[in-house]
């Protein structure tokens, strides 16, 4: 209560001081006068500082419904120990690596789908409306069409409910019965067919399909920001524009067509193919762009030229195409012509037609032009800047997709960058608030970060991060893209920054913003090596175990070689030996269903060295025996270390065993080892005799040195 009064008082004090005395202040029951003069008396007791100008009352501010929550949210920083909001905040339920994160979110989603299935199949238990006001999204959906029989009404209803197959059947029946179907209904049927590309809205039988990719049912898909999408791998199946499918067939048999029909057909033909290629682009982590393009181009070349032919038909019929059809055609240009100059010429032609038909270009038009310019090489580079100027002239603000296309055009390939476009783009992006206007907006941040990594510029990356934190820009990165973005950023950090900064970022980002990839771990190890802080390796190994990478050969090799390269103080050696033991456990059969990893010679050698340096002679000897099993030969360094260890722990038996092993493998080193053993150890008589009896001239029966691969460095 007191706070409320003080708040009201402060407001009134500010208002009264600022506005002078001529306006009447709203009087509540508990307001109090902050300054001594009341409005009635105020005219005479004014201070001379208040001038006699007209006071303009500010307009009453209307706040958004969520304003308070947004303000509160802006006071809180990101919690670096928490996982994503969709996970429960519990140590058992928090995902520790990318695979688990994906698994848990998909499980939650499939639980929701199970509930929706029950609600769809038993709507009678869920249709009581007792909420005031009624909440339509919590009611079961009415998906069965009400009108029976064959009529245009029934057809319209089925189109509205997105029942593709039923509407096509009904249309055919109506045509056969001779009932005329109006042009609008036919056009909406064509819209439906072209939108779903001859497939069904929600394919029931798709195993494990990610919901956003398979749901083109979001009608405003070109305007909404991309939701959480799990795009992985290429989708080579999906809607294809088959020859003579329903849309084409209906288009051919309808008695009259207007511009809308043609435009829909054009958009449908172009959309279906580009839907697939867009999916390929945005998830092309393993396969290169060009490979994917070749596949798609060879498979689907037909539909683009059909779309162009349809456009020519439309021109012949003297109709006007609308802006969406033009956008689609411009997007299809790279598939229609081969040479760069021709592509640009065709784009220019289409734009001139647009101007002639007095169709106003929109942001999407220019984005399509920029997208086609991506595949126009050098011509694209010069022309893209002109396109931007044109956009400015028409007063269209470029969206993130425009910038993304621009960056791709200028920084494609690994040749030296010709211009400094990226910093200008970043300066632009930093200062503006963006909303989602184009589905390609989502790729901007990942592309920009990729460019920063290629240019090896950490300052640009920091600038990009700041742009990401501004306003609503975080919404452009879904879970997969965000992982890729932060992973690239971390690699760049490891390359360019000091180790303290790297470790700080690692601790902050590691489980909450992204899950480190194996490449990130390798980069981190290199950075630790460069900064000479190898004692952090055991803690990195703990993280690697948690992330589930403990069976990757390249990581294990890197760990072992770094640990065993130099001599370290004894506590660190003990810690290293513990890591080595865990790595050894990975290579051994453990439990059902676990295939043990194969040992490599170098890994085995490193493990022996690590055990020896920590004084674990027996373990080291066990490892030495593995060498014969895998047909490898230990290096000189390994054997020397083992001998040192045996000397320190005073185990002459082990030393003799090793000399025997060396002799049996026929190594030239064995002579030196034998002399070392004799000198450095205090041997009893039996041991001396055993040592003497070792044949060291390389003619032992199980010498493998000629046939096996030697593992010397």
């Amino acid at each position: 209560m007191a706070a409320r009064r003080a708040g009201a008082g402060c407001w009134q004090r500010a208002l009264s001081l600022g506005l002078g005395r001529r306006c009447r202040l709203p009087r509540g029951p508990d307001s109090y006068r902050s300054s001594s003069s009341s409005p009635a008396l105020g005219k005479t007791v004014d201070n001379s500082q208040v001038t006699q100008e007209e006071i303009v009352l500010p307009r009453r501010k209307t706040w958004d419904k969520l304003a308070v929550l947004q303000t509160l949210a802006s006071t809180v920083n990101r919690d670096p120990t928490a996982a994503h909001y969709m996970f429960q905040d519990d140590p058992f339920l928090m995902p520790r690596n990318a695979a688990n994160s994906r698994l848990y979110s998909l499980s939650k989603e499939s639980g929701k789908n199970a509930a929706k299935y029950i609600i769809k199949n038993f709507p009678q238990y869920f249709d009581k409306t007792f909420a005031e006001p009624n909440i339509p999204c919590l009611m079961p959906e009415a998906l069965t069409p009400q009108t029976e029989g064959m009529s245009e009404e029934a057809l319209r209803e089925r189109i509205h409910l997105r029942m593709v197959k039923e509407s096509v059947d009904m249309f055919d029946q109506l045509l056969q019965a001779g009932t005329p179907v109006s042009l609008e209904t036919t056009n909406s049927l064509l819209d439906l067919l072209c939108f779903y590309g001859d497939g069904e809205p929600t394919p029931e039988k798709e195993p494990e399909e990610k919901e956003d990719l398979e749901e083109p049912g979001v009608n405003a898909s070109e305007q909404k920001a991309p939701k959480r999408q799990f795009q992985r791998g290429s989708r080579s199946s999906g809607p294809r524009w088959r020859e003579n499918n329903h849309a084409e067939r209906i288009f051919k048999i309808i008695p009259e067509r207007n511009a809308h029909s043609y435009c829909t057909m054009i958009r449908g033909m172009v959309k279906v193919k580009l839907f697939l290629t867009a999916g390929g682009f945005s998830s092309a982590f393993e396969i290169s762009h060009s490979q994917r393009l070749f596949i798609f181009v060879f498979l689907q070349h037909g539909a683009y030229s059909k779309a162009y032919d349809m456009y020519i038909d439309l021109l012949n019929e003297r109709h006007k195409a609308d802006v969406h059809a033009f956008n689609a055609l411009i997007r299809a240009v790279p598939y229609l012509k081969e040479r760069f100059v021709e592509r640009w010429e065709l784009t220019k032609d289409l734009l001139t037609h647009m101007a002639q038909q007095k169709v106003q270009p929109t942001l999407l038009t220019f984005n399509s032009v920029l997208k086609s310019l991506r595949r126009c090489g050098g011509v694209g580079r010069t022309m893209s800047l002109f396109v931007l100027k044109e956009m400015e002239a028409l007063d269209i603000e470029p969206s993130l997709a425009s910038y993304e296309h621009l960056l791709s055009v200028h920084y494609k390939g690994v040749d030296a960058p010709s211009s400094d476009i990226i910093s200008e783009v970043l300066n632009e992006v930093e200062n503006r608030n963006f909303t989602a206007q184009d589905p390609d907006d989502a790729n901007f941040f990942t592309t920009a970060m990729q460019v920063c990594c290629d240019l090896k510029d950490i300052k640009l990356a920091y600038q990009l991060n700041k742009a990401l934190e501004k306003g609503d820009n975080w919404k452009f990165l879904d879970v997969d893209r965000s992982n890729g973005y932060w992973s690239k950023f971390f690699s760049l950090l490891c390359m360019m920054e000091q180790i303290e900064v790297v470790l700080k970022w690692y601790k902050e980002m590691s489980s909450s913003l992204f899950y480190p990839t194996p490449k990130n771990i390798l980069d981190l190890l290199q950075a630790l090596d460069a900064a000479n802080q190898l004692e952090m390796i055991p803690s990195v190994w703990e993280d690697v175990k948690q992330l589930g990478f403990s069976r990757r050969q390249d990581l294990l090799e890197e760990f072992l070689s770094l640990m065993s390269r130099d001599q370290h103080p004894s506590e660190i050696q003990l810690a290293f030996a513990k890591c080595a033991e865990e790595i050894k456990a990975v290579h051994e059969p453990a439990g059902p269903g676990q295939v043990p990893l194969e040992w490599t010679g170098s890994a085995l050698g490193h493990v022996v060295v690590l055990f020896s340096r920590a004084g674990r002679t027996q373990d080291a000897w066990n490892m030495m025996e593995h060498f014969q099993k895998i047909n490898r030969i230990p290096t000189d360094k390994v054997m020397d270390e083992f001998l040192n260890c045996a000397k320190q722990t005073n185990c002459p038996d082990e030393a003799i065993k090793m000399v025997k092993l060396a002799a049996s493998l026929g190594l030239p080193l064995s002579q030196r080892l034998k002399s070392r053993t004799e000198e450095e150890f205090e041997l009893s008589e039996t041991q001396k005799k055993a040592l003497e009896s070792i044949k060291w001239d390389g003619d032992s029966s199980d010498s493998d040195s000629d046939s096996s691969d030697s593992d010397r460095e």
């Binding site: 429960q88 519990d90 058992f92 339920l93 995902p95 688990n100 698994l103 848990y104 979110s105 499980s107 939650k108 989603e109 499939s110 639980g111 929701k112 199970a114 509930a115 929706k116 029950i118 609600i119 238990y125 869920f126 409306t129 007792f130 909420a131 009624n134 909440i135 919590l138 009611m139 079961p140």
Partner: protein, 163 residues
């Protein structure tokens, strides 16, 4: 003593009637309260803090398991809340079979229903997430209000004492 005994033997038989009668003596019925109390046993039954305290400790040593404004003066809907609570407890006990380590805590804030559950770790996390998504969506559609499930897992039921 011996003289009194000799005197009794001398009395006629009719007078040797016992003077104190045995009759049933009863007070008003006073049954023990048995609600929500765990009776003391051998000492091997683990009880949680919630179970160990009797209902008269609510508000003193225990909190409430269901928080809503239906019982305040002038507010309606207490009975509906009670029925919803009963249904929710049974529904979630069945959805997470054998996993609930303690009673659910139901909190209502405006339209939102927050169900706080303490679970054991018998199921792997992805199955728990499946059940979580299922329960949230189904209950939301059933009660026409947003339902949020907040889970916390414990390795085993936490005993407060052994009775």
């Amino acid at each position: 003593m011996a003289a009194a005994a000799r005197a009794l033997r001398v009395l006629p038989r009719a007078l040797r009637v016992p003077s104190a009668t045995r009759q049933l003596h009863s007070s008003p019925v006073c049954l023990k309260a048995r609600a929500a109390r765990v009776r003391a046993g051998r000492g091997d039954k683990a009880v949680t803090y919630e179970q160990a305290h009797a209902p008269h400790h609510i508000g003193h040593r225990k909190g409430w398991l269901s928080l809503h404004t239906g019982n305040l003066c002038g507010e309606a809907g207490a009975a509906q809340r009670a029925i919803e609570d009963a249904f929710l407890r049974r529904f979630l006990a069945g959805t997470f079979p054998g996993l609930l380590a303690d009673e659910l805590v139901l909190k209502r804030r405006g339209n939102l229903l927050v169900v706080c559950a303490l679970l054991g770790r018998a199921l792997p996390p992805h199955k728990l997430y499946f059940l979580l998504g299922y329960a949230e969506t189904l209950l939301g559609n059933f009660y026409k209000c947003p339902v949020r499930l907040e889970l916390q897992t414990v390795p085993a039921r936490v005993p407060y004492k052994y009775l």
